[in-house]
Symmetry: C2
Subunit: 193 residues, 2 copies
């Protein structure tokens, strides 16, 4: 059940078998149907999740009712609202399953237990947060400097296995453009081939 999680951890830091097992035992599996929500705006996020099957989108709805997608999470990705989870405050985000999915969830209590009893876990989450942060910095720069065409091509190239499972609506909401404009970009690209 936690094979993928164990592998994921090993890709960040080295843990003994005992430590790995102890940590993985702190997770609970949850199966969630397509179009259901792991989290809605206003709720406090009570988990940090590791996706073992399926696809989630993490998004925000702005004052004009538009959705901005912060990120997608497929198998082998982590998903949470770190601000809400850490500070136990109401979330501004929605986390929705876009496919029938399975996640391994760890509660705040269990995560704190891990921090207290498994010293390397602190390092694990520091390293993971750093990596996520670097990726977001990269995306920030790209969004500031690149045109929508280029961002679309970059996304398709960088995450082909996420791309292929998404609708254009989702991709547009991630790129920060209207889906009509995305459609026009796709047409233009198709013509120039």
């Amino acid at each position: 059940m936690t094979a993928l999680l164990q592998q994921n951890i090993a890709s960040h830091i080295s843990l003994s078998e005992d430590e790995t097992e102890a940590f993985c035992n702190l997770f609970q599996q949850q199966v969630i149907k397509k179009k259901s929500f792991l989290l809605r705006e206003g709720e406090v996020c009570r988990f940090e999740g590791f996706v073992t099957r399926g696809l989630f989108r993490v998004y925000h709805i702005d004052q004009n009712g538009f959705e901005q997608i912060l990120y997608f999470a497929i198998e082998n990705w982590w998903v949470t609202d770190i601000d809400s989870f850490t500070n136990e405050k109401p979330s501004q985000l929605y986390i929705e399953a876009l496919e029938d999915s399975t996640v391994l969830l760890i509660s705040k209590k269990n995560k704190e237990f891990a921090y207290a009893n498994l010293p390397k876990i602190e390092k694990l989450f520091r390293v993971m947060t750093q990596k996520t942060h670097v990726a977001l910095q990269r995306r920030m720069i790209d969004n500031l400097s690149k045109t929508a065409d280029q961002r679309y091509l970059d996304f398709r190239e960088k995450y082909p296995n996420i791309y292929s499972r998404l609708t254009n609506l989702q991709i547009a909401a991630y790129l920060g453009i209207s889906h009509e404009f995305l459609s026009k970009i796709r047409k233009k690209l198709a013509e120039n081939k």
Copy 2:
């Protein structure tokens, strides 16, 4: 010399006096003149810095020669290229002093010493990275959803003490717009008052 640093640390986690002192001793002070660089593209970032005086900008130059400012750092802020520092790879960023400045720098070796010998330091950097990450997520969403006018107003309101020390060129590069357009926004806002 490290009073501000000590105070900054205390705002994230609690450390004993001994721990605080041991950690702060791992930093070296560096004074740096306006328009000088702490880091240039292509160099490996050998430090993590804490600003005690002055103002820095951290930016990237894209393939068209345009500058995107990732963030500013004034007194009481940290500054580094975390990707380059952590992975000892060439940086894609520039870090430039926009005023005569002073930073406290910690080397990778000393930081690793801290991780190994002062267990709470791992937590300190996990917590700080998390906070920075949350702020960047917020900025990402704002950049996707808000118009340049609004982003300008938000920036002015959120960081008045940084704003007042910047030229419009710097602010435009941070907001991701041309400085001419920023000038027009400012004009429009001034008229509607």
